[in-house]
């Protein structure tokens, strides 16, 4: 029996306005090299000046995972030679990072939990991008110097499932405290996975293999499963020592395999040393106080939803996992509708109708629209069944809730006058059944309801209908 050991390194791009060490904007999608200056192009004499907001956001993450925030931390220089870094080094924090020793709790579907330790989170500068074209490579340094927070977990995860739960929780936290856009496709949430196996019961850690830059949760899960299978097979075939070496591998989505990135090149020598262009980083009392006060976290919001709105843990976790979803739900509630109905219409009805990565907040149905629809049901204007038709129509065509209800002729008749006339007619036409009912055949009540509903073409508000019928039959 084998045990899988997984550790994760996540590079989160901090959503500051300007770069880590210069004022160049961090905006995505600008013309190549227009967001560059002598500092991020590493011209001689240009010196780095640390972005206060990057430091603050890194510290906020520390608070969110209950970590130690080092009031004094340092930057170090990591040498490497590649055209995406004009300075031929990266400024990072190796020896004393801003954040150390945090924890993150993951929740399993059965309600159980596990605590994953976070070793550290440090600030570093991102590199630029290269485009390879024939005999040349084009270098765009717009991204060079963008602030990153690298979040390193301990090797505490024991399955691909745990790794994904950790990543989703981490993603959620980062979004809640708004330190990053955390968009995997755009590269603002980049995941490197370290995987090894060992016989169950063994305490020692064996050779770990790093799988780099996989851009969706689904592919990460797949990549881990495939890599674990490769290592187990090598072990069982008795070729573990030869085939499993400490290296970086790429996940090939098409071939569904992991592949070695470099040949037998000697290990990189980063020659780390304290960054001479920057003094020590001090978090003063004012900033520390600021760092300690962070927005509500997903777990706290979940608990609040359960307590305040009496919705189930499961529903609360579904809604709060995604910040936009949680906001959507809160906005629905601001219309004064019941939380239970809001949950049903958000999770079952709306989300059940969405596909292809569309979320409630990116769907054509705004929170106010969906809330209004629920409100109309609660007011008795339309039935739940009719509301589904309205929702289908709105998803297809958009429009105003009340106009669509009107247009589709779905408005329930709650007008007592009209209903009374209709009921009188039915009772008169069925005098014999009325007599039977009055002599004790209670079951006939359903017959009258059915007839009246039919006569109203289903538009009668059932509550109003029942009330009138009961009153009339009691006469």
């Amino acid at each position: 029996m084998f045990e899988t050991i997984i550790g994760l390194e996540v590079h989160v791009q901090l959503n500051t306005q300007s770069k880590l060490f210069c004022s160049c904007p961090t905006s995505f999608n600008h013309e190549q090299n227009t967001n560059t200056c002598p500092t991020c192009l590493a011209l001689p004499g240009a010196l780095p000046v640390l972005n206060k907001e990057a430091l603050r956001k890194a510290g906020m993450f520390g608070t969110a995972v209950g970590a130690t925030i080092n009031r004094t931390s340092f930057f170090d220089r990591k040498s490497y030679f590649y055209p995406d870094s004009p300075s031929a080094y990266q400024i990072t924090q190796l020896y004393t990072p801003i954040v150390e020793h945090g924890t993150l709790v993951i929740d399993f579907e059965d309600g159980s939990q596990k605590t994953i330790r976070i070793n550290r989170a440090h600030i570093e500068a991102d590199a630029g991008k290269n485009i390879h074209e024939g005999s040349i490579s084009k270098v765009d340094l717009n991204r060079a110097g963008t602030p990153l927070l690298e979040i390193v977990s301990e090797p505490d995860m024991r399955s691909a499932e745990e790794a994904i739960l950790y990543l989703k929780k981490l993603h959620s936290i980062v979004r809640y405290i708004d330190i990053s856009d955390a968009n995997m496709q755009e590269g603002s949430f980049r995941v490197d996975v370290n995987v090894s196996i060992r016989p169950k019961g063994d305490e020692k850690l064996y050779t770990r293999v790093e799988i780099k830059n996989i851009n969706s949760f689904r592919f990460i899960q797949r990549a881990i499963e495939i890599e674990v299978a490769r290592q187990k097979e090598a072990w069982e075939d008795g070729v573990y020592e030869e085939e499993i070496v400490q290296e970086t591998r790429l996940f090939d989505q098409v071939k569904q395999e992991t592949r070695s990135m470099r040949g037998k090149e000697e290990a990189a020598d980063y020659r780390y040393f304290p960054e001479p262009d920057l003094l020590k980083v001090i978090v003063d009392d004012a900033m520390y106080a600021d760092i300690c006060s962070i927005p509500e976290l997903p777990d706290a919001k979940k608990e609040r939803f359960v307590n305040d709105f009496a919705i189930s843990e499961y529903h609360a976790s579904l809604i709060t996992a995604d910040l936009e979803n949680a906001h959507y739900f809160e906005e629905m509630l601001s219309l004064g509708i019941s939380a239970k109905n809001a949950v049903t219409w958000l999770i079952v009805e709306l989300q059940g109708r969405l596909s292809g990565g569309v979320t409630p907040s990116t769907s054509p149905i705004s929170a106010v629209m969906l809330g209004m629809l629920v409100k109309r049901i609660e007011e008795g204007v339309i039935s739940g069944k009719a509301a589904k038709e309205v929702l289908d129509y709105l998803l297809e065509n958009g429009g105003d809730i009340d106009e669509v209800i009107e247009k589709l002729g779905l408005k329930q008749v709650s007008d007592t006058g009209a209903l009374e006339a209709l009921i009188d007619e039915i009772l008169n036409a069925n005098a014999d059944k009325v007599a039977e009912y009055k002599s004790g055949k209670d079951k006939l009540f359903g017959f009258f309801v059915g007839q009246a509903m039919k006569a109203s073409k289903g538009s009668a508000n059932p509550n109003t209908l029942n009330e009138i019928l009961q009153a009339k039959l009691a006469q």
Partner: protein
């Protein structure tokens, strides 16, 4: 620290420089002298000195997070690059 031919080859690799044969011996001698000079520092006792000790107690300056850039400057830099095209720096092909 012993500077020898093996280490020199490693340094060449790391620095992407090539030392011509006629200068290798001289280079080894000079590097050895430099390292020996810096080695004087090892005589200092660092017992009880915190790992986070720094020469200056001043904190690094912090900058407010406001974006600004001067396009004429990066245009100028690009125009002085050995090779540029469409506002890209152009380098010999690199294999990922």
């Amino acid at each position: 620290m012993q500077i020898d031919e093996t280490l020199l080859q490693r340094l060449e690799k790391l620095s992407f420089l090539q030392i011509p044969d006629e200068h290798r011996e001289e280079m080894i001698a000079q590097l050895s002298e430099i390292v020996a000079f810096v080695d004087n520092l090892s005589e200092l006792s660092t017992e009880g000195v915190d790992a986070t000790f720094a020469m200056s107690d001043t904190a690094t300056r912090l900058r407010e997070d406001a974006g600004s850039v001067d396009r004429t400057i990066n245009d100028d830099i690009l125009s002085h690059a050995p090779h540029s095209q469409d506002h890209f720096f152009i380098v010999p092909k690199i294999i990922e």
